[in-house]
């Protein structure tokens, strides 16, 4: 009987969707609360934090404060510059290192891979003091360059690890065909291998981007000056020891979600796999 498996798989689909929806609700709930409350008056936030803004409680005072106080547009720009630049370098150098590790046989190849993978397990924050000393010595304190350098270093291990696994799967024949067709090693890397590992690149990009955008630690230590503040650091202005301007904090955080959401949408379009299908049989 065929109908049985059909209902069965429907039931299974229902169950799995229920679980996924439940997880989505749990994961999105805090975000939702932040966004909803950012549109409410201060006393409404505390009186009923879960209710939606109505005509009485609706207020844009938080956004007005954010726009008026501090140079938030500038903070956004800083965050964006740091995130995009770090992402670019992580992907470029990560992919290059991964290509070398997966493509060329040389002495110490696997040891090098292991050494690079070690960085995944050891948090870079352990080296904060040394990094600060380094930046002071290099005169890079309070520059975006300092942040970009640190984030590039932070993102590379995972990028190399994931990308080298994917690059090993790119067929050798394809690369050799390229060599015979007259491609240089750089052209093989940029025109053959990179397009084929695009889904992996997108994955790495998303994993790398979020922690950089959200980071508070390194901006606070390495670049706390007004002209180099990032959004997360800028939002701290409204959190005081005694008085916290919750409207402003929530508005700033809501705004901070937007750019990273846009970046995510860009990359997730690339996450569609299956580009390699049909290359080799």
């Amino acid at each position: 009987m065929t109908p049985r498996p059909a209902t069965n798989s429907f039931g299974r689909a229902l169950a799995s969707h229920a679980i996924l929806i439940a997880y989505t609700v749990i994961a999105l709930f805090p975000v939702l609360v932040i966004v909803v409350n950012s549109f409410k008056q201060r006393n409404a936030i505390f009186r009923s934090p879960l209710s939606l803004p109505n005509s009485e409680t609706f207020s844009l005072v938080g956004y007005e404060t954010v726009m008026a106080q501090g140079d938030f547009l500038h903070y956004f720009q800083n965050s964006l510059v740091v995130t995009v630049a770090s992402l670019f370098f992580v992907l470029l150098f990560g992919a290059m290192a991964a290509f070398a590790l997966s493509e060329y046989r040389f002495r110490g190849n696997s040891l090098m891979g292991l050494y690079l993978a070690l960085g995944i397990m050891i948090p870079i924050r352990l080296g904060t003091v040394a990094i600060l000393q380094l930046m002071v010595a290099g005169g890079l304190v309070n520059t975006l360059t300092a942040l970009i350098l640190v984030y590039t270093a932070q993102g590379l291990p995972l990028a190399v690890f994931i990308l080298s696994e994917f690059m090993k799967q790119v067929s050798d024949d394809l690369k050799n065909a390229g060599r015979i067709d007259g491609l240089s090693e750089y052209t093989i890397f940029f025109r053959l291998v990179l397009p084929l590992v695009r889904p992996a690149m997108a994955t790495v990009a998303v994993f790398t981007m979020i922690p950089i955008w959200n980071d508070l630690w390194f901006p606070l230590i390495l670049a706390p000056a007004e002209e180099t503040k990032t959004v997360t650091l800028g939002a701290q202005v409204f959190i005081g020891q005694f008085v916290t301007n919750w409207n402003a904090v929530l508005s700033a955080l809501s705004l901070a979600i937007l750019p990273v959401l846009v970046l995510y949408i860009i990359f997730s379009r690339q996450l569609i796999a299956g580009i390699t299908a049909g290359a080799v049989k």
């Binding site: 067929s171 024949d173 394809l174 050799n176 065909a177 390229g178 060599r179 015979i180 067709d181 007259g182 491609l183 052209t187 053959l192 397009p195 084929l196 580009i275 390699t276 299908a277 049909g278 290359a279 080799v280 049989k281």
Partner: protein, 356 residues
């Protein structure tokens, strides 16, 4: 077009030598097939000609230029891979045009060459498609088209038909041979399939364990294999080989256990008692009134011919009949090798022994 000269070529991976000094000279316009069991070094040799593997010792020359240290792109060769290796993110047209574009060839010339190649291969309807939208045979043609547009001095094929189904393989075999007859470009073709080798080659290089066993035209290899390896490797079903000792006399023969295998008269010159391997091809065994008594075992009819496995005095003999016989398993018959078509090999070295 050019000749390819392979002189004393060796290949080491660390301490392990996988190719032990190979000499092959391939003439201009020739279709040469490298054939051998897997791991015999045929693909490695091809990749050395292509420049994808470094040459440990010896020289390879294409035309009159030694190419040992010339990178693949400057060797003026084109290669077709077993996995086709099409660029998956490019259309058929771009796949074929890619190498010419990189060289900076005039776009109108590129378009013309791609047009000609796709016409020869019947690829015009598929030019705008991506490799993933093509069938295996079509992909194979695109891979050949990509080689064709470059108009190279030498074509290299690395088991290009292995991924195709049996029917398509036979069809592509003919197409490749036709293409070669039209273009007359020097071609080196690697395969593990001796039928492919026999049907396509002008000359075959039989390789085993990193050595060349024999070089010759398909029929030379078939009619006069230089050793037992070539004798069993070429031809399907394989040649029957039986060890024994020479008995001279009125009717010279090889005595293998209780079996007396007849030899031509001239073979008496090999000497009484000499240990040899007696070889006879399955189709050179005929039924006769007197001869070796044998029991019919398995019968495998294919329509055009019938393969019969006989048992006799502890040996298994395979024979191939074009005509139909009314055997049943268990029947006892008499068979007789055609003495003029017998092969004799030295039992120690496996080398062919000449007589007469």
């Amino acid at each position: 077009m050019a000749e390819v000269a392979i002189n004393g070529v060796r290949k080491n991976y660390g301490d392990l030598e996988v190719i032990h000094g190979i000499d092959v000279s391939i003439e201009d316009g020739e279709f040469v097939v490298l054939v051998g069991p897997s791991g015999c070094g045929k693909s490695t040799l091809l990749r050395m000609i292509a420049g994808l593997e470094a040459i440990t010792g010896g020289t390879i020359a294409i035309g009159d230029r030694v190419v040992n240290s010339v990178p693949p792109k400057d060797r003026d060769i084109a290669m077709v891979f077993q996995s086709y290796a099409l660029y998956p993110h490019m259309t058929v047209e771009k796949n074929m045009a890619f190498s010419l574009r990189l060289k900076g060839v005039d776009p109108s010339v590129v378009a013309e060459r791609v047009g000609t190649a796709s016409e020869i291969l019947g690829l015009q309807p598929y030019l705008k498609r991506y490799p993933r939208q093509l069938s295996g045979g079509q992909r194979q043609r695109v891979a050949m088209g990509r080689a064709l547009v470059r108009d190279p001095q030498v074509f290299l094929f690395d088991e290009p038909l292995s991924n195709l189904d049996a029917k398509l393989r036979v069809q592509m075999r003919t197409e490749i041979k036709e293409l070669h007859q039209r273009l007359k470009t020097t071609t080196v073709f690697v395969t593990h399939d001796q039928v492919e080798a026999m049907t396509m080659a002008d000359r075959i290089v039989v390789m085993n364990d990193g050595n060349v066993e024999q070089i010759g035209s398909p029929l030379e290899l078939y009619d006069a294999p230089q050793n037992t390896f070539v004798a069993t490797f070429i031809g399907s079903p394989s040649m029957n080989l039986m060890e024994g000792a020479i008995r001279t006399g009125e009717e010279p023969a090889v005595e293998a256990g209780e079996m007396r295998l007849p030899l031509p008269k001239e073979a008496a010159s090999l000497g009484e008692g000499r240990k040899v391997v007696y070889g006879i091809r399955p189709e050179h065994i005929e039924l006769s009134d007197r001869g070796i008594e044998a029991t019919v075992g398995v019968i495998e009819p294919t329509g055009s011919e019938t393969m019969v496995f006989f048992r006799s005095a502890g040996h298994q003999i395979v024979s191939l009949f074009r005509e139909r016989h009314d055997f049943r398993p268990g029947d006892t018959v008499h068979v007789r090798p055609r003495t003029d078509l017998v092969h004799v090999f030295d039992s120690e070295t496996g080398r062919r022994l000449a007589f007469g």
